[in-house]
Amino acid sequence: MDAIGMVKRQSFYETPSPAGLKGIWAWLLTRDHKRLALMYLWAIMLWLCIALLIGLSLRIELMWPGGTIMKAETYNAMFTLHGVIMIFLFVIPAIPAVFGNFFLPIQIGADDVFFPRLNLMSWYLFMFGGGFAIISLFSGKGFPDTGWTFYVPFSVTTKTNVSLTVTAAFILGMSSMLTGLNFITTVHRMRTKGMGWMQIPLFTWSLYATAWVQLLATPVISITFVLVILERFLRIGLFDPAKGGDPLLYQHLFWMYSHPAVYIMVLPGMGVVSEIIPIFSRKSIFGYKAIVYSSLAIAIAGSLVWAHHMFTSGISDVSIFVFSLLTYLVAIPSAVKVFSWVSTMYKGSIQMTPPLLLALAFIYLFSVGGLTGLLLGAAGTNVYVHDTQFVVSHFHFTMFGGTGFAFFAALHFWWPKMFGLMYNMKRAYIAVILTTIGFIFHFIPMMILGLMGMPRRYFDYLPQYATGNFLAGFGGFMIIAGVGLMFTNLLLSFREKNLAADDPWGGTTLEWSIPSPPPLHNFVGVPEVKSFPYDFSMVGKDAAPTIQTRETDERTS
């Protein structure tokens, strides 16, 4: 390779950092969106592993009736922890913070986000929030035990260290809000020449819709958390009926954020799947505009359905009717997406890969989650299954089966681009199948248990629920084994050093047009924007699509 070629191939890992930023400071003080994304990645994967293990311990406890490995109080603290870590430290930030930071600027042909310093600040807020969460566990009088919803009056009266946990959630909310703000500005101001709104890749579109929800909804939760803290210290009584307050209002305020938040969680996942399906079907995405508009529709309609969490809390029949109707409306744009993905695959030239398998698992599991959601959204059936294991199963199908699987899919899809390394395909398949089967084993029994009437968040149960709980625990072990194998496989790619080509999957969006891993400023030349982002007419024309790996290490030659 000649000198110019050497420069071109130099990735952002190898580019020397400016003076004064040596060693670890090159990472800790970086404003490069790619480095920040990787720092998010490791932090978030750590949190995921912790929360998964806590979840497993909950299921082990429930495998047999009565206390087995922990006391009832510990159990309360453990499910709170599992919820808080999973929601605030994994599901909400996972895809936007890691893959959004890494690929949003590249997909629109920019060299960084619009506010790089703000981006660094978001990362620090995220880490501080996480740190606060840890401190809150081991200080004060024991683990918080309120569940992740921090419902009053219990959250105000419990002796445990809720204030600090709530502060942590407040800081994390701020971090996610600033990231959203950054993304909106970046998409508006930094698109490369020739990229109109309808040339933006779907992943970026979904992040854009998500960012608006983040910005719209997060301040409401911030103020709610501030009120919880003030109530704890000053006992104002804003939510205390004895002092004229109304605890229902807390639930309204809480869900005004937290329901839109579930769309913050799932929209980016849908974006990932919309990228993966066309590439491995070698077919342009079916209904690009429909997917774009349905993302926006979900973002808007999703902000208007919060009170469906409160059908049994004592709200009026009229509001139950209205919110039930609105909830059903959200199902329409979600279904539009599912049909678009399936239609994309129809008569496509499908090539099976681990990311595609994960995306298919996503579609299946998310559909189950969505359909059970309709059962919950209907006012009548909701009363029957409210606060049972059925609800737990439903939101795990959407959160884990949806966002979790989309996160795994994105990991497998973009791993070659982020690190320039290909993982072992066979191990990846085994891991995916193990996780999926474990998932079904875990949550289907819970769904049946819920229909039988087993309430959620209970430490002990009646003997008729024993079989289901045992099976669910068994499935939990399978999930842990599957995810463990998946992460081990990905990490092993660092040792195996099987180098990936720049465009191993035959993708058409801008991130596949640049070297893997990307150079410091992302693009070596002016990015070339196609009039349609998913135009496969030029890719793999002469040969059947194959997974390409680089034969020799060009970077060292």
């Binding site: 809000m177 703000l181 909106i184 500005t185 910005l215 719209l216 909804a217 997060t218 301040p219 409401v220 911030s222 103020i223 709610t224 501030v226 009120l227 003030l230 000053l234 006992r235 104002i236 009584g237 804003l238 002092k243 004229g244 307050g245 109304d246 209002l249 309204h252 305020l253 005004m256």
Partner: protein, 185 residues
């Protein structure tokens, strides 16, 4: 910056939602508690904030035209206005607290529940607003220092512009807070 300001409005929006819900529940108590607040002092504070907003806007124009000394004095005046606002607020709060009206106090506990909620919201909202005044003053002070060192000048004035926008937002929120508490029916 506009997006960030927007999120701040939503932050207060959550509190205004609470206010609306409770006002619907206790209109009489709210009206009667509102009369206990001193309207003259409230109006004075409103005027002070409005004037300070004007001087901040004027300072931006001044710096764009290169009148550094004028800009400096205008910003200093605005910061002083903010400080005056807080001082007045301090005495106002002090008076209520001396009368035994503060969160979880005996007077409020034994009175009608609507009064308790009214004053609870009063302390939370004005307290949070006061915090924003302090943040705004800090931002203005930073701009002041930057003008002195020359980092903010007639070509690079976005720092001052953003600080000014934030100050206007603080002002705007007060414009809503003032009638809700002082001029309630």
């Amino acid at each position: 910056m506009w997006l960030f300001l927007y999120s701040e409005i939503i932050l207060f929006g959550g509190l205004f939602v609470l206010y609306a819900a409770y006002f619907h529940e206790y209109p009489k108590n709210f009206a009667e508690s509102g009369r206990e607040l001193n309207r003259i002092i409230g109006s004075l504070n409103t005027v002070i904030l409005l004037i300070s907003s004007f001087t901040v806007a004027a300072s931006l124009t001044a710096i764009q035209r290169g009148a550094k000394r004028l800009a400096l004095s205008l910003i200093t005046f605005s910061i002083l206005c903010g400080a005056t606002f807080l001082t007045i607020k301090y005495f106002e709060w002090g008076k209520h607290i001396r009368e035994g009206v503060y969160p979880n106090s005996q007077v409020l506990q034994n009175g009608p529940p609507g009064n308790n909620i009214f004053f609870g919201l009063y302390y939370v909202i004005t307290g949070l607003h006061g915090l924003h005044v302090i943040i705004g003053m800090t931002l203005l002070t930073i701009s002041l220092v930057f003008i002195l060192t020359g980092r903010v000048n007639e070509r690079h004035f976005s720092m001052l512009e953003n600080a000014g926008l934030y100050w206007h937002l603080v002002d705007l929120i007060w414009i809503f807070v003032f009638p809700l508490f002082y001029l309630v029916l």
